[in-house]
């Protein structure tokens, strides 16, 4: 029974499901560590998903599709930075604004330019000679049977952790997120650091969108993400502002989802109460066990102004 449920394909599915959460969550982590909450992730994801999809649909080029997602992510990230850093708008509500914008605009463009749901052929699964064939514990299927963007997402986790903890840029990000006044007094350009992290976050959100529309789902439709970006924001809290924490949250969350799929695919009748309660129970458990020693950026959502 257990072997029937916990098959290699469940774990492979978990890894695929986790991919967009990782992209978006890591991007959001950079922003939040520097003190900027971006609630508009989902909107940027939708725009990234649409632009990459449309580019692939129109040109057939996956590379151009990826570039389109990066470009729109960059632009909307810059806009978010402008609104929250330069205009110093309330981050809670301006993020909702960006979400509504991305949601509406991607839908509008979709209707004008495409019309009905179409599919494209997105990033193919990569066959990695020896690795993909490992039968032992299903390792080949679980880890080495995915498309490029899946690998990229997982690769970005250690890279981001390294950047945050071991580089001068990371030190500046953390300083700005914890105490912008002190960072400013130490000669760090608070606004510039925040512009960089928020724009980076936009870029990652764009990638997250592309990972859906041209790598995992290969379709576009209105509200393709259906709130996935908000869950990614929640995962940043869940992961205590650490890239590996975000990864763990994304995997846990995706595992529960994959498990539910598998349970219904093999025709098991598990009471649906279980399915309903699972995310809630997991959330609460995670909260209780979450270390209180967090890296929480104390200046999160606080705009910075000299002489205040």
């Amino acid at each position: 029974m257990i072997e029937q449920i916990l098959t290699a394909s469940v774990f492979a599915s978990m890894i695929r499901l986790a991919t967009p959460y990782i992209f978006a969550g890591i991007g959001e982590t950079f922003g939040q560590r520097s003190g900027v909450l971006n609630l508009g992730v989902d909107g940027i994801m939708l725009m990234g998903a649409f632009f990459s999809f449309y580019t692939v649909y129109a040109t057939g080029s996956l590379v151009l599709g990826l570039l389109a997602a990066l470009l729109i992510g960059l632009l909307l990230g810059l806009t978010t930075a402008f609104i929250s850093v330069t205009l110093k708008a309330e981050q809670g509500i301006s993020g909702i604004g960006m979400y509504l914008f991305g949601l509406g605009m991607s839908e509008l463009l979709f209707q004008k330019l495409i019309g009905t749901p179409k599919s494209v052929s997105g990033f193919p699964r990569l066959y990695i000679p020896v690795l993909s064939d490992i039968q032992f514990l299903g390792i080949g299927e679980i880890f080495f049977n995915h498309n490029l963007l899946v690998y990229l997402a997982f690769f970005l986790v250690p890279v981001s952790a390294f950047v945050l903890n071991r580089t001068t840029f990371g030190l500046m990000i953390r300083a700005v997120g914890q105490n912008p006044e002190a960072a400013d007094a130490m000669g760090i350009n608070v606004a510039r650091v925040r512009y960089m992290t928020v724009t980076l976050g936009g870029l990652f959100s764009g990638l997250a969108g592309a990972s859906l529309s041209i790598a995992l789902l290969n379709v576009f439709q209105q509200n393709l993400t259906s709130g996935l970006g908000f869950i990614a924001v929640a995962l940043v809290y869940f992961g205590r502002w650490k890239p590996f924490g975000v990864l763990a949250g994304a995997l846990l969350f995706s595992f529960v989802n994959a498990l539910q799929l598998q349970v219904s695919a093999i025709g098991l009748d598990i009471p649906s109460e279980f399915a309903v309660m699972a995310p809630y129970v997991i959330t609460i458990i995670a909260l209780v066990f979450a270390s209180k020693q967090t890296e929480k950026p104390t200046a999160l959502t606080k705009p910075f102004e000299r002489g205040e």
């Binding site: 599919s119 789902l217 290969n218």
Partner: protein
């Protein structure tokens, strides 16, 4: 897989209780099972599979197991997967929708509803029934069968009553009941005495029609019970028709190559009137 019961595996993007797209297929499979008997017909249904790669894995595993006679990919986003996997398993039959494309493969069926047909009929009746000459339509987003239905409805009204005004509000959401309700209220305030609409948020407009003595035309499933005396006519999808044909074909050895359209003619679309 010729001996024993006929076995079907199906994958769909949303939940089997979505009261809409996925559920309509699930209900159809249940209906077939009822007809043929649980001994002769078995199926598994993987719901909530919005990640195409996951659907690909499921479809691949089902195909490779050789245990299934028919694999249904219920969602237009699964087209590329079917196109890729089906040629490797010529002895297994695949069906996907909603679309008409079988990719020129002999073991692939495609299916789609001609929602504009029932829309037209509803429209003709609405055109004849309206006293105020104003008819309100509440749609979700201008795509797919919602668009087909609304366009058919408009043509129907134009055919029976060229002077009647058909006013369409797309509320840009499949689920926002409060907004759909106020859209219906706005139509009523502007003189509409007949309302219609599509997608799951129409429960709100139906209540508005009832409350204001207006009449309601529906689509996708029967809303007769909810609409009460406001209800007039409903276009109901019956995927069983397609499934029945496909199953008979497979038993005869014809594995695919055909595309089905649910129509009034073939009984896939049924007009049900309110009591």
């Amino acid at each position: 897989a010729q001996d024993g019961p006929f076995r079907v595996a199906a994958v769909a993007p949303s939940a089997t209780n979505d009261l809409a797209f996925s559920q309509s297929m699930y209900d159809a499979l249940l209906a077939i099972q009822e007809e043929m008997g649980a001994d002769n017909f078995e199926f598994v249904f993987q719901e909530g599979t919005f990640v195409v790669d996951d659907a690909a894995v499921a479809i691949g595993e089902w195909a490779a197991s050789g245990e299934y006679d028919l694999i249904i990919a219920h969602g237009s986003q699964y087209g590329s997967v079917v196109e890729e996997i089906a040629p490797r398993f010529p002895e297994i039959s695949f069906a996907w929708g909603t679309d008409v494309n079988t990719f020129g493969l002999d073991n692939v069926y495609a299916y789609t509803p001609a929602a504009d047909e029932g829309g037209f009929i509803n429209g003709v009746m609405a055109g004849l029934m309206t006293e105020s000459g104003v008819i309100g339509v509440i749609g979700p987003i201008e795509v797919g069968d919602a668009k087909l239905y609304v366009d058919g409805f408009k043509e129907g009204v134009a055919a029976s009553n060229p002077d009647a005004q058909v006013l369409v509000t797309y509320i840009q959401s499949f689920s926002d009941v409060p907004l759909a309700t106020e859209a219906a209220n706005a139509h009523i305030a502007n003189g509409a005495d007949i309302l219609t609409g599509t997608a799951q948020m129409v429960v709100g407009p139906i209540a508005v029609a009832k409350e204001n003595g207006a009449r309601w035309f529906g689509t996708q499933s029967s809303q007769a019970e909810l609409a009460g005396e406001a209800g007039v006519m409903f276009q109901v999808y019956h995927w069983e028709v397609v499934l029945r044909d496909i199953i008979a074909n497979i038993k005869d050895g014809k594995m695919g190559g055909e595309s089905y359209v649910l129509t009034l003619q073939n009984g896939g679309l049924v007009m049900e009137s309110a009591k």
